[in-house]
């Protein structure tokens, strides 16, 4: 039987994606799990201020350096969580979201995970989220918030 027989080609088309997608789905499970952990550990800190939130997530990610899916989970949630603050106009949150966008995109590329699949790891409207990511990617880096000066003028209260 020629390896180019119809049944072989059909078999490749049917089974190959299953074989190759398995590790990808494992990766996504890890991303999802660590996104959830990041949410539990750091999300409510944004309520105090965006720097506390950012520090919490960066420290968390530092402990997972080398484990790309975990890092991606942390940084992807970090971005989505920051965008929740951006959408209600929290001072400094755009900078935080932009910062995490750069980080998660870099790891996402390394892992070869597409935008839609990644989006499923943190609940929300993927059409909107992907459109926002696309828009923000085109934007230049925002002017830095002056962290030297203490918390911003319109810091969040609790």
């Amino acid at each position: 039987m020629s390896i180019f027989s119809k049944s072989f080609i059909l078999g490749v088309f049917i089974y190959a994606p299953l074989v190759f997608s398995q590790p990808q789905s494992d990766k996504l499970d890890t991303v999802k799990l660590w996104a959830e952990k990041a949410q539990q550990q750091c999300f409510m800190k944004i309520h105090f201020d965006t720097f506390a939130y950012q520090d919490c997530l960066v420290l968390m990610a530092k402990e997972e350096v080398g484990n790309k899916p975990r890092e991606l989970g942390i940084y992807y949630f970090a971005y989505v969580g920051a965008m929740d603050a951006v959408r209600t106009g929290m001072y400094g949150s755009y900078n935080t979201a932009w910062y995490f966008l750069q980080r998660f995109r870099k790891i996402q590329r390394t892992l070869g995970i597409d935008d839609r699949s990644l989006c499923t790891t943190v609940p929300g409207n993927c059409d909107i989220r992907l459109s926002q990511i696309e828009q923000m990617r085109k934007m230049p880096q925002p002017a830095p918030i002056d962290t030297d000066g203490g918390t911003p003028k319109e810091k969040q209260t609790h």
């Binding site: 949410q39 309520h47 959408r87 106009g89 943190v122 409207n125 000066g149 810091k155 209260t157």
Partner: protein
């Protein structure tokens, strides 16, 4: 026999009803259901004027997948929206979930927040839970805001009792079901509020988070009880009294990962409010707050409708209940409505721009004028300039310098602590000193605001002598140095220097080499450290006053603050501390320039 059959039927009916089964067609109620509207807000924080960067993302039907940004907030726009909503249903009530006051801008804080209490009453707020910030100035002050009377020690007509030189207290009722006054063993304020609407009754329970004492210094002499126990106890009583709907107003919240306003799929809801709601019984709606987020969710386990309306009056929740008399809530829905100002030229389809309510605008304007007058008023005098120290040849602030202005602010921080707190010293980060005072003479509130515009609350934190040395070393360690080398005569003068109060003096030695890793520096000459003139005791705990940026967050890489004990919000905003401090120095006795507290014999002449 007849009796036996009746008993059997009764038992069967009771059993089935206990099991939640239907025993046949429900007897139609003789009275039609009543629609009740609950208009809810939270975390207003005295923002009578719109906060400068208050914007919201809305779905834009004309651009699928895109969002539109709108400017929102301001009391006069809130009033317009409330009026509009009330006009839609006579059976309506305006409610709140706390933090209407506290951590508020000058327009409100200058009046001890009486301005906000008055305006919220005028807008129609009827009942609200207390939040942690309602306790910022202590229980007596909260009771004064509820019951009326002028604030002691404040200038009548300008700082208190503004309208007709009197303050009548809140037109609305604060609720504090889980807050027990230790003096009376009773709740500080009522626990519940009951309102009848055209034949149906709604019971409200109002309370704040149990962790309030951790979030404010003012919560003393009070005990904060478990939220779930308190709510369930009142809700059961309500049901026993035949009250058809139970609404909880609570200053506690969560957050979602939603991308736009009003995403009712409520993606990724998390936070303290989740287990709290899941522990409730006999409750129909939970109006939440505290976390400044925005959501409308239905808890899958309990069916409870859970809402929160962002902050600063940017959003209002429109909750609609259909209540069957004698039965209960048969339908409930809610929408978060943005308070869209007329500064927006275009808004997405389905949204409308609001115009200002003229009456409320007039009142807000009156408070605004008052605050402007106060801002230009002289707060004190200085005998000599307190200039900003800049990096040689530039206009950039030198962060590794002792700034006289920084010294004065630290002294003001320390002076704001009551004697009984026994505070030993105070710090402000160099970056927190935004400018100097370049001429001797009078200082206005606006001058002080230009120096310290952050509105940070002050905190106590206790550090041991050993930790204090570590803290000082962090001034020249890791990122505080490495990222910003500052060469002078081949010596790296990098660092971020904490500005100390006069009660701390010390020497440091630059030749020991700044820029080591965190935890490795040894530049402070330990023997030279004096606190209130006494040598440092490494084991003793010292109470430090500093701002929230340092105390809470360990900002500017001063991580030692996070290791401190007894972190406590003083309930004092930094600018208030400065105003009170400079008030001590009239024209006849201006503030002398502060004496230097830090010295470095090995440093090149630098400033």
């Amino acid at each position: 026999m007849k009796l036996k059959s009746f008993a059997k039927l009764a038992i069967l009916t009771l059993s089935l009803s206990i099991l939640g089964c239907s025993t046949g067609p429900i007897k139609p109620s003789t009275k039609p259901p009543v629609d009740v509207k609950i208009i809810a807000m939270n975390d207003f924080h005295g923002y009578l004027n719109r906060s400068d960067n208050a914007e919201l993302f809305l779905m834009d039907p004309d651009n699928p997948g895109k969002v539109a940004t709108v400017k929102v907030g301001g009391a006069s726009y809130v009033a317009s929206l409330v009026k509009k909503l009330k006009s839609e249903n006579n059976n309506s009530i305006v409610v709140g979930a706390g933090d209407f006051i506290g951590a508020s801008p000058a327009i409100s804080s200058f009046t001890q927040d009486e301005a906000t209490i008055n305006v919220m009453g005028e807008i129609g707020l009827e009942v609200s839970a207390v939040g942690n910030h309602e306790f910022d100035r202590g229980k007596k002050e909260l009771l004064r805001l509820q019951n009326g009377g002028c604030a002691p020690g404040k200038e009548i007509g300008r700082e208190t009792c503004i309208k007709n030189r009197e303050f009548k207290g809140a037109k609305f009722q604060y609720l504090a079901a889980n807050v027990i006054d230790d003096d009376t063993n009773q709740t500080l304020l009522p626990s519940t509020y009951i309102k009848k609407f055209n034949g149906v009754t709604v019971g409200f329970v109002g309370l704040t988070l149990r962790g309030t004492p951790k979030a404010t210094r003012g919560a003393v002499g009070l005990t904060f009880n478990d939220e779930i126990e308190v709510i369930n106890s009142h809700a059961a009583k309500f049901k026993g009294q035949g009250i058809e709907a139970v609404v909880v107003l609570i200053h506690q919240g969560g957050g979602t990962t939603a991308a736009t306003l009003n995403d009712k799929s409520c993606p990724g809801l998390s936070g303290e409010i989740v287990p709290l709601v899941q522990g409730l019984k006999n409750v129909d709606v939970v109006v939440s707050g505290h976390t400044h987020r925005e959501y409308v969710c239905t808890d899958k386990k309990t069916g409870i409708l859970l809402t929160q309306a962002n902050y600063y009056g940017n959003v209002i929740t429109d909750i609609n209940l259909q209540i069957e008399p004698g039965k209960g809530v048969i339908n409930k829905r809610a929408n978060n409505l943005p308070v869209i100002t007329d500064q927006n030229k275009k808004v997405p389809k389905g949204y409308a721009v609001l115009s200002k309510d003229a009456d409320i605008d007039r009142e807000v304007q009156m408070y605004d004028d008052l605050s402007k007058k106060k801002r230009s008023a002289i707060q004190g005098y200085i005998a000599a300039p307190l200039p900003m120290i800049t990096i040689e040849g530039t206009t950039a602030r030198n962060n590794n310098a002792e700034h006289l202005m920084g010294d004065a602010i630290a002294d003001a921080y320390l002076a704001s602590a009551p004697k009984e707190a026994k505070a030993d010293l105070a710090f402000i980060n160099a970056g927190g000193v935004r400018s100097g005072l370049n001429t001797a003479g009078p200082i206005t509130y606006d001058n002080l605001f230009g120096i310290a515009p952050f509105g940070n609350n002050l905190f106590y934190v206790d550090l041991t002598g050993e930790q204090l040395i570590r803290l000082l070393e962090e001034q020249w360690e890791g990122a505080n140095c490495r990222n910003k080398p500052l060469m002078k005569n081949n010596v790296n003068m990098c660092g971020r220097m904490l500005q100390p109060s006069s009660t701390l003096t010390y020497k440091w030695d630059v030749t020991r080499g700044p820029g080591k890793d965190f935890g490795k520096g040894n530049l402070v000459i330990v023997d030279s450290v004096r606190i209130q003139g006494e040598p440092l005791d490494m084991k003793k705990k010292y109470r430090i006053v500093t701002n929230s940026f340092l105390a809470e967050d360990g900002g500017d890489n001063y991580t030692v603050f996070k290791q401190g004990a007894g972190l406590q919000d003083m309930g004092v905003v930094d600018i208030e501390a400065m105003v009170n401090y400079f008030n001590r120095y009239p024209a006849s006795s201006p503030m002398p320039p502060p004496k230097r507290r830090i010295s470095c014999d090995t440093c090149p002449k630098f400033y």
